[in-house]
């Protein structure tokens, strides 16, 4: 799967570069809009191709280089202990539905449905708590954003909630 991801990078690099070459490299004697993208695109293709080749050359889990820690928050290359792919996929799916629902039923209702769905999937033992949270949190968030911060949240069909 890691190779597929690297392959995707290469594909992106190629696509990006193709579009980049549609832009003028130089314009009026100074660097044009295509300058950076083209150089960037070519570099991307070279590096991602190299990366893909290296991925094929390396045996399955070569972790000798992987022990340098990094300065940002939690970026260690962890391929080890995972396996809850189904949970991840489900979470993504539910979130996608949530975002779609935002403009259909409005933010408040969508939030309540989302919270309930996720808690039902993850926290089946505490159903009462789930229901409470599913109502309490969205309402607090809604109040925080709509009333306190005065931002517009999607209303969907329920425009009377505005």
């Amino acid at each position: 799967m890691a190779k597929a991801f690297s392959g995707a990078f290469l594909a992106f690099a190629v696509a990006y570069t193709l579009f980049a070459f549609g832009l003028p490299f130089m314009a009026v004697g100074r660097i044009g809009p295509g300058f950076f993208p083209q150089i960037l695109g070519v570099t991307l293709i070279v590096i991602s191709a190299y990366s893909l080749v290296q991925d094929f050359r390396e045996p399955a889990r070569e972790s000798a280089d992987d022990d340098a820690p990094d300065g940002a928050s939690g970026d260690a290359a962890g391929e080890g202990s995972g396996g809850y792919g189904r949970a991840v996929a489900l979470m993504i799916l539910v979130t996608v539905v949530f975002v779609v629902m935002l403009n259909v039923v409005g933010a408040l209702v969508a939030m309540v449905l989302f919270m309930f769905a996720v808690l039902y999937l993850l926290n089946r033992e505490g159903m009462v708590m789930n229901v409470v949270l599913s109502v309490l949190l969205p309402v607090s968030v809604y109040l925080m954003f709509d009333v306190w911060l005065n931002t517009t949240l999607p209303q969907g069909m329920f425009t009377f909630l505005g």
Partner: protein, 502 residues
């Protein structure tokens, strides 16, 4: 001294009721974010950024910065109590912190950490107060060529120092640059990569990307690792009584590590790309190698806990130096902070300290106060924060996602940005899974336009000739540093490979 006058001015800005309130909020939120494993400071800052839009820029940055160093304090709590670092920068605290907790000495451990962090933060701030104007003066002679090289340097150090495979880090950064090119090109007014979509004309806003990569990405990754299945096993901490305070010999053992950690951490923090995590690990190695009892490390050696704790706080302060004086972020969190500066129309760089003194010095002043608040909170309210660690991840996760989605939407009312955020979330998950660097992408996204602009300006000044980069002395020095940054790790890597195969 001029510096003291500036500092007093900074305090006067920081000590207004409004700013104090936001400082307090930021500090508490930072602690909470730090305590929650799987939610990093960078995510916390990115998610709360949309909420600060109605605020005065100084107040907003005071709060966001408070989240940043507050998280350093908060991450310690989970490291010590449940052997799970709440922040990557507190990994080193688990080595000796958790054993101490298991020996029933969690209270003293946490107090020592709090005090150590406070001392380090204060020392770091004093160094910052002295160094920042000096750096700013140095940078005043910088022109576009030098800035371009500094941007490149900042990005390179991050890649060089980042974990995982270096080529993945490079690709992550290049990808960030590519994202940055979407939108209207500043030099020509021409649209790039917008594919006719009006939402993309202003480019890809870094907030959805940051929230997606850091917030959702990390969350999905934690889920993948089964965080929602784990039961929390938090060690009990008694809130009062003689068990809370460290013994006298603990204090005497800590003095050295605290001081050493502070200075080491600060220096490491100043280097862009090297941040709190590296500082804390270096401090651990240092303390272990100079200790007379190295065998105690890993079993609850106080220096092994206090040193790294001080180092990571000092490093987060040190990271403010390049951020404020040069506009170079050294880590994911500072990149988000930089993005926030830009959003508020503040131009980070050498002129920031002179043109917006109320901002720069107000921020520094607020950091001193923030440290005081944090040490008080940590010493007296630990059980409260420890309880947050008890909230199961499976309940925390939907709350975080909720905040990410709604927060992103609230920035521009754009559903497109929300989809970008979600897309980046999925991307961030895969990036973390395969060892790429979301931090490099965000930093590149923030720095990309800066790099392109400074390069363009440099070439305009030199009429298209690259010679400008090597005819200016400062520029030459920077090029030399950049070359070193690339060559040294390559050489070390080659040597390692030869040793392995030979």
């Amino acid at each position: 001294m001029d510096v003291f006058a500036d500092l007093i001015y900074g305090f006067s800005v920081a000590v207004t009721p409004v700013n104090l309130l936001y400082l307090a909020i930021g500090v508490v939120v930072g602690m909470v974010v730090g305590v929650m494993p799987g939610l990093g400071a960078s995510a916390g800052i990115a998610i709360l950024l949309p909420l600060t839009f109605g605020m005065d820029p100084v107040s907003a940055i005071v709060m966001l910065a408070a989240i940043y160093y507050g998280a350093m304090f908060g991450g310690t709590i989970t490291s010590v109590l449940i052997n799970t670092p709440g922040e990557s920068s507190t990994v080193a605290s688990t080595f000796d912190g958790y054993p101490l907790a298991q020996q029933g000495r969690a209270g003293p451990a946490l107090v020592l950490c709090a005090v150590g962090s406070f001392v380090a933060g204060t020392i770091g701030l004093m160094l910052l107060t002295l160094l920042a104007p000096a750096f700013a003066n140095l940078a005043r002679s910088f022109g576009p060529p030098e800035f371009f090289l500094v941007v490149v340097m900042g990005l390179l150090t991050l890649i060089v120092v980042a974990g995982g495979k270096r080529r993945y880090g490079l690709l992550s950064a290049l990808f960030g640059f590519a994202l940055a090119t979407v939108g209207v090109d500043l030099g020509s007014g021409q649209q790039r990569f917008t594919f006719g979509s009006p939402d993309l004309i202003t480019g890809i806003n870094f907030i959805p990307v940051a929230i997606g990569l850091f917030g959702i990405g990390e969350l999905l990754y934690s889920l993948y690792q089964g965080a929602h299945r784990e039961e929390s096993n938090v060690t009990e901490v008694s809130a009062s009584g003689p068990e809370l305070w460290p013994k006298r010999e603990d204090w005497s053992e800590s003095a050295g590590p605290m001081t050493r950690g502070s200075f080491l951490g600060f220096v490491v923090g100043v280097i862009p790309g090297a941040g709190a995590t590296i500082a804390s690990l270096m401090s651990y190695s240092m303390e272990k190698s100079i200790s007379k009892t190295p065998e105690k490390f890993g079993q609850g050696a106080v220096p092994g806990l206090v040193g790294p704790e001080s180092a990571n706080n000092a490093a987060s302060t040190g990271a403010m130096v390049p951020l404020l004086t040069l506009g170079i972020p050294g880590s994911a969190s500072t990149a988000v902070l930089l993005g926030a500066f830009l959003l508020y129309g503040l131009q980070p760089g050498p002129l920031l300290m002179t043109q917006n003194p109320e901002f720069a010095w107000g921020l520094i002043g607020s950091m001193y106060l923030g440290n005081v608040m944090l040490v008080a909170l940590n010493v007296f309210a630990i059980p409260l924060f420890a309880n947050i660690a008890r909230v199961p991840y499976r309940v925390m996760a939907p709350i975080v996602i909720l905040l990410c989605v709604i927060g992103t939407f609230s920035v521009n009312g754009s559903i497109v940005e929300t989809w970008i955020m979600l897309g980046c979330g999925v991307l961030g998950f895969f990036m973390k899974l395969y060892g790429y660097s979301p931090a490099a992408t965000v930093i590149a996204l923030v720095l990309g336009p800066l790099a392109e602009e400074t390069l363009r300006q440099s070439l305009i000044i030199s009429n298209g000739s690259l010679s400008i980069f090597y005819t200016r002395p400062v520029s030459l020095i920077l090029i030399a540093i950049v070359v070193l940054l690339v060559a040294v790790p390559l050489a070390l890597g080659v040597r390692k490979r030869l040793a392995r195969d030979g």
